[in-house]
Amino acid sequence: MAFRKTVSKYPLSFIFLFFIVFPFIVPYKALATRIIIWGLFALGYNVCLGYTGMLSFGHAAFFGSGAYAAGLVLLRVSQNIWFGLLGGLLMGAVTAFILGYMSIKRRGIYFAMLTLAFAQLVYFIAFQWAGLTGGDNGLRNIPPLPVSLLGLTIHIESPLRFYFFVLVFVILSLFALNRILQSPFGHVLKAVRENDHRARSCGYETSNVRWLAFIISGAISGLAGALYALYLHFVGIESLYWTTSGQVVMMTLLGGMGSFIGPFIGAGVFLYLEDVLSTVTEHWMIFLGGIFILCVLFFPTGVWGTIQEIVSRKRTTVKQERDA
């Protein structure tokens, strides 16, 4: 009982503790890194879907452009890893700013289709602009770089060290987002999600609120893309293709969109299943697609949401029995 209380009081700290042991309980370290990078992407995506209620199918544009920006900065401008990451973050935000301008006024399925179409435009631009992006070949040979911090130079080549390097940004994003969502602005976001008209009659310019949420979401996605570019030492053109957006939608829904931890669980389930199934069959996507369909049909709150429902149901039955 006491344990549960502490967990619910400091959820972020427990997520943090879990992430520290996480690389030691998955089959290999690189998988853990991939999971938390995609988890970060899904976390950023969830600002859009879970907290503001906007179904975007254009997040590949932010993830991919963040990855390209980081890669290009490190290849052409500076060998400082911080500038690469900053470039990714800003690029994600700027792309979200522009795409948001084009599509934020529309809502619901219209918004989904518009973000999809404009993200696809970004893909084709990157594809054609081969002089900058490498076109179909992608951006190759992004160098492995050490991290310089307070005069120290830390090497992060080993998988475990790289995991913890990524984890730092995951934790920072979690705390920043938690701060944002607990702020008055975070409550306005929820108000917009629940009832746009009422939020507007309270005096909020709701399309601007949604636009800002979209940009925050894009910035985190861009950061995730930049980390992914560092992880792979490569940026592929398919990171901008709309199936990447689809993948993050699937992860977010599989995990459950109501919480912080949901997107990470979704990314974990997705990538772990991919890892396991792809050793058995090359047609692993049929299983993931099937699981996703079942999830939409029967568990719309995702893995985490379903666990929470079961726990709370059990708790109420226990309470009812006790009361009786």
Partner: protein, 292 residues
Amino acid sequence: MSVTAIAMQLFTGLSLGMLYVLLALGLSIIFGLLTVVNFSHGAMFMWGAYAGVATASFTGNFWLALVVSPLVTGAYGLFVERALVRPLYGRDLNYPLLLTFGLQYVMIEIVRIFWGTSDLAFSAPEVLNFPVGLFGIFYFPSYRLFVIGVTGLICLILWLFLEKTNLGLVIRAGTRDPLMVRALGIDMGKIWWFVFGMGSALAGIAGILAAPIRSVFPEMGLAMLVESFVVVVVGGMGSLKGAILSGIIMGEASALTTLFYPQMADIVIFLVMAVVLLIRPSGLFGKSGLLE
């Protein structure tokens, strides 16, 4: 740039536009009545192509393939509506969209299991494989003219069906006010079922018609889906007139850019969409505020 090349490209654009029209009509008719955005529409297009190619290579008869494809995807659409989409009615509009999105991956994988991942070669039947002289100035592949003709015919049949038959009347009424139609004692569930199948069948026809023009491979529907979304959005969601007009515009825009500035060929339809939406936010024939 010679007049001949431009005229030729205009016809090529028209035949490409016809594929957009068929796909957009299917999407739009489903959306207009069921308010479902079918993300597996591209995969149904792909299934139509594969079903047609399989039939044609098995029997050697292209005309049979042209009939089998829409029947296969139509029947499949009926199954999908009943088994998967129906349980989601009454829930948030995003759920059918997400479900069909997952479904498209399953459909792509099924095709990969049976046919592998490589392109299938498929050419138009002998009868339709000759150049036709047009206006005495250029020669045009007869198969593309055939595509234009067939699509025109389908549009005509669809129009007659919707405007002149009782079932068409019910469908039009259901698009406006399903509750009222239900109050008049008509089972809307059956109508929805039928229309989902009809839209899927249209995707199947588009698939087999596209097979000799574009290459046939499992992911052929992915790009096509996005392009047909663009067509639907520009035409105005749920508007059939809009779908036809915007399909033709997009086909022409794409074909003419290929001629003048090929680097922009993939991009131009998105730019057209951006411009149209800036001027008319709900598309050419769309009603504003529909289902937002």
